[in-house]
Subunit: 414 residues, 4 copies
């Protein structure tokens, strides 16, 4: 670890929580240079829905490299990109009768959010964007203004403006009635509130502490947005790409977002890519090259991402999500049941959170897990929630083993 | 191309300028699906300093994939990342007696700039940052505030604040005297100017039109910054990593930046990575995880980037830069000489610009080049400057051929 | 009127609503140049609590002029200013055991609010200020940011920042529970809300539509402010100086504001003056001359203002307020009773509002009143509320006559 | 003085510099309560161009009070206001063939500037306003953003945005060439500068240190503004109303401002009033009541202001300005001549500054003057400039006596 201590910035975080040097990885396991194997319930912060070094994707990537495919193309047209686009259209858009346009940008989630904000402001001619308490949308100034966490916000060093903050459905004061009150204020020309450009919402607040919104509330957010002439934007960066058992986290909820932001799981292999889906009539407001990004055309990401989409053609993996979720919640519910009401289990699909109610305690449990060979990360206010987001492809035995490690850690810590 | 027209966002740009579908690429050439070969003087907007699909890097990347190296690691420690860090320290930092800390973030240049701004504001407790006319620093709200181009800025849809704009050395009113005047105003408590957090400068404004700063002026910017208690930040994203014949664009100028931003060429193969070099005493102001990014630990980028650094161990390639530059400027100077004073040649190393003085004309020349099999891109105000940034590894024959195509295009167009 | 049409700005407002030229005025009546007398239920927008050309004050002002008193003194010490200060201390502060410091500034309410905001931000080192829907606090950029009305805000031409907007007690979603929810969000470090510098509130929203806050809710606002380390600021500019039957509008409510802003009625005669009362420990944060104003020392205002304070030494006038209020509400309640639930009566003391529920209708009634010799002004969203703020000194006969005109106008209009 | 120390805010300034209690005043003299007479070279910060308690105005004001004229009228039409408007049109506008509209607002200079900014932003649809180093335009957030002095700006507690700062003609880097450079940057779409809404300039920077702009430079500012589609706004609040020997400070310079802000001297007697002159085609963009102010219709100010305008009908007083200026500069030039180049004399008309080059020294001189019976105030960076702005009506003997006191104070202090 000395090289990291000597040369890497003090900002490094995970290498402090997991103080070992990883040498290889496969599906739901990482192996450090001493040969010790760790179960991975963190999966690259929700990126590795299909496991580390997914063999199908690896094969395609090596073939691509050997064939001198265009690795870096900005937004020039390439055969590899076309394959990705056509596969995405066939697998994701067509079955949903969606006609949305795919926009590529700098391959990070934050760049996707920044692009969505630009388009929303362009289309509406308005500045303010509604975001929710406990929301997480990125680290660059535009997306950071939406992000709720004080720790991240304080690092900006400048005021973060042009955002109106509402309580998320599950936060104090939040809910459908709150949206009705907010609507009434927006409709009163003496309320001091201007109609916003957009409402930006996560269906499950992942970083914010695994807070799950109801379909009813999300529909009301969408209705309010549209009644006010604002865009309804779903940030599906961490929750999309299969995490909840379907491609989008909001499938089946009767929603019709104007913009959907995607990143993390989209590249399949951990290869960087970000993409927004824009309704065509909104997308038409873009002029060529207004929001660029050097790495917006990544051959390897297109290749791996195309293979990842194949998981959504047959339902085998998606069908397993429900079963694995049950395995997870069975253990978590047990832990909550034994906590005298201190713990709470929240989640959907294979994103589950165990709210420990205390950040220091959650950290101690996560440390114990690491010592026992399980990678798991805290989230939420003060890091009080243990978030379980293993690869969707995790073998049942690994899932069971990891849950056992977690249960043991909880019991030995509290 | 129909797939792109049907499914991709209207924001697409290069696929309009280069309306063909590329299928493979090698060193300074891209081949489209019809088998036509194009010379590439654009090199992925300055990313591909070592050519498309550099064979040394490709071999290492395939080995890494086959060995199940950790492809996606956030900021966990991995053997691959350690190899990169140690190589960078040995090849770049040690020979320069630099002790700077390496900070990784979301793998785009704009994220690097956003991180640098946060650190500068944190360290100084100030808000305003000095940026220069014609500067380009990225597309997210923080970096976009520094970027000078109106077209990009107008897309923000919100005010871009916390930036003080000065003329670049070569712009009207710019130069050492202007810096002295600005210093006098900063020192007058009734000037209405507050001391800034940082001065952010490119040594050559690449996107801005290949404007070249002198060492004297850059030293004066640095001196002014330091006298005012501000940071001196060099954005070397497009100009660094060997483009000018040395690792940093400012090598040999007597500069000692507080933060250096790197991206584009750093990953070698077009694989995304971004990294800031922070002076240790400044870097110590970071708390863990204050500026994160999902894709900040990319195994493939570390592998290819490590191999790229080998080019800086022996001086062979770097030595060729001077010769190739002469080849380039010989042709460009000829074109300028035959333009009745309308054209101007500017540049350093293998970043050369031919200022046509007229955006429409420059566009017509670039189109003619494309038709004749050469990729070249305009930059600067109104796109009036043709920028030549071929791979440093371009074979002499390809360089000559490309310059010939360009010369012919100029002659036939004007 | 031609002179006004020819030479005065298009921004003129009241001269359009009351299209006649006034030549003289006395107590609750104004007389136009044709000799027609108008009853005045508007009283200079709440300035003339003691009537037009109050004879006691007039005598003192003439004496002052004849004695060559210092008419204009900035913040130099004058005998006249000392008399005012000592009288204010004896009449207002001493009986309430208040030790607040008097700060004078440019003699407008908006300047008072701007000064209060500066002090609150200085003391707390915070930026955001909480203001309420339908609030009115002035027209300059700092106070305008607090003002809720879209019409006024839209005139700014720049974003109005650094304000967090909450619903007023009587607005949709407003009330004690809302304050509790807001407190919970402030206490959550992931809510995206920072602790504010101040809560700025009117006890009765005069311009906003005569919305009356309860003592319980105001105490809860104060408690929340203090628990969050924020200042509790009461804007008593329109509601203070006796309007509700006591000097401050919040007397007897168990409140202890950190800053109280005063203007309008303070000068007694319509002579301009503005003054903040600052708790001494907060006031100590000011450095000399940090917030100045050329006209902050007005001899005539000090003279008339001192005489005005005499009305608060014996309780005769103040005692009449309750009786006159009853006279007013008797008529207003009747009008509301006959409106099939369309009208609502709101108010405290001699600030009463008749909410007509429709701006066009309210305007028609006000016009009919003017035609019949009564000046009355609309307020609230879309101007739907008729506000009755006659001089406290209005003779009973005039009050009755004016109410009769109003009742007739209502009956003939609806 | 105890009453002030006990009850008045710590922000009080002049009562610290002039620690006595004034009881009466007449023309260029103030008398304190002990009967000591002081010569007044400060004249209420430039308000009292016609002396303290000007007898002509006093008579008219008493008559007005006795006749129960309308003292407070918001923007209702009154006979008194009409008299003022017509007099201003006849005396000031007609001889200059001006057709500008008069806009009244809250009676302070800062409110006038805030209104001008709103109109400029409304008309152009732009946000940024150009202001100059060392400029002073007021204390409320909009005007404070234009004000250059750090001490005042720091009190805001929030970022002061939407202003582009240029050096004043006489500041480092300032002048006609600087304007040409700025023009070139504005015309370059990659300069990072947007066309501004307005240029706001003082012809003489009074608070800023008596910096005098040349007619040539002012014309170039105006030309640049108009070429860029921006408004040219002259802030004549301290320099107008006769101070330089003509009504406007820019008379005879060939300027044609779009908006002129007036306040201080406009009310004649120190009675508060503020007024903007707007070109009619710009003024037409106002909607009724968009920028209001409770005290915008002050009968006493209209009366005294009307009488003040009579001084501009015959040229007697204005003719004296040149002679008195000579008296002043003769003494000042002598002082400068004897200073070994340390002092500098600057000014126009009866606004003259003696730049001492050192704030502490200037303060000591001003203190000595006070001790010897002369009121004089420092201005400029660090208070290094002694500003002489006696009433225009000062008797020659008083002027001589005051200059003698000043000379003695300088000699005894340095």
């Amino acid at each position: 670890m000395e090289a990291f201590e000597k040369w890497e910035s003090e900002i490094r975080g995970y290498s402090r929580a997991y103080p070992t040097v990883f040498a290889s990885a496969s599906n739901a396991r990482q192996v450090d240079e001493s040969g010790r194997s760790y179960l991975d319930f963190f999966a690259g912060a929700g990126v590795l829905n299909f496991g580390h070094n997914n063999p199908r994707m690896k094969r395609a990537m090596i073939d691509f490299l050997e064939a001198d495919g265009v690795a870096h193309s900005l937004d020039m047209a390439t055969t590899t990109k076309r394959d990705f686009i056509e596969k995405f259209a066939a697998t994701v858009l067509a079955p949903r009768d969606m006609t949305m346009k795919m926009q590529f940008m700098g391959p990070t989630g934050t760049n996707a959010v920044e692009a969505a904000l630009k388009l929303a402001r362009r289309v509406t001619g308005r500045r303010d964007v509604v975001a929710f308490s406990n929301g997480f949308h990125g680290m660059t100034l535009g997306s950071l203004a939406l992000t709720a966490n004080d720790y991240f916000r304080a690092a900006a060093g400048v005021p973060l403006e042009n955002v109106v903050r509402l309580p998320f459905e599950t936060a104090p004061g939040g809910g459908v009635q709150q949206l009705a009150d907010f609507r009434a204020l927006l409709e009163d020309s003496s309320s001091g509130l201007l109609p916003p450009a957009a409402f930006v919402v996560e269906t499950i607040q992942a970083e914010g502490g695994v807070h799950v919104a109801s379909a009813e509330w999300l529909r009301e957010v969408q209705r309010l947005a549209h009644d006010m002439g604002a865009l309804f934007i779903v940030d599906d960066i961490q929750t999309g790409c299969g995490r909840t058992g379907s491609y989008f986290s909001f499938d089946g909820m009767g929603l019709d977002p104007d913009i959907i932001t995607l990143a993390k799981g989209l590249g399949g292999y951990g290869t960087p890519i970000a993409m927004n889906l824009n309704k065509p009539e909104l997308d038409a407001h873009w002029s060529p090259g207004e929001h660029t990004g050097t790495f917006r055309g990544q051959g390897l990401s297109f290749v791996a991402g195309r293979v990842a989409l194949e998981y959504f053609d047959d339902d085998e993996l998606m069908n397993q999500v429900a079963a694995k979720r049950e395995t997870m919640t069975a253990v978590l519910d047990d832990l909550a049941a034994g906590s005298d009401g201190r713990f709470e289990v929240r989640g959907r699909g294979m994103m589950q959170g165990l709210d420990i109610g205390d950040g220091a305690l959650a950290k101690a449990i996560a440390k114990k897990c690491f010592d026992d060979g399980l990678l798991i990360g805290p989230c939420g206010t003060g890091g009080r929630v243990l978030k379980l987001i293993p690869p969707l492809t995790i073998p049942d035995a690994d899932l069971d083993e990891g849950l056992e490690v977690l249960a043991k850690a909880v019991h030995s810590t509290i």
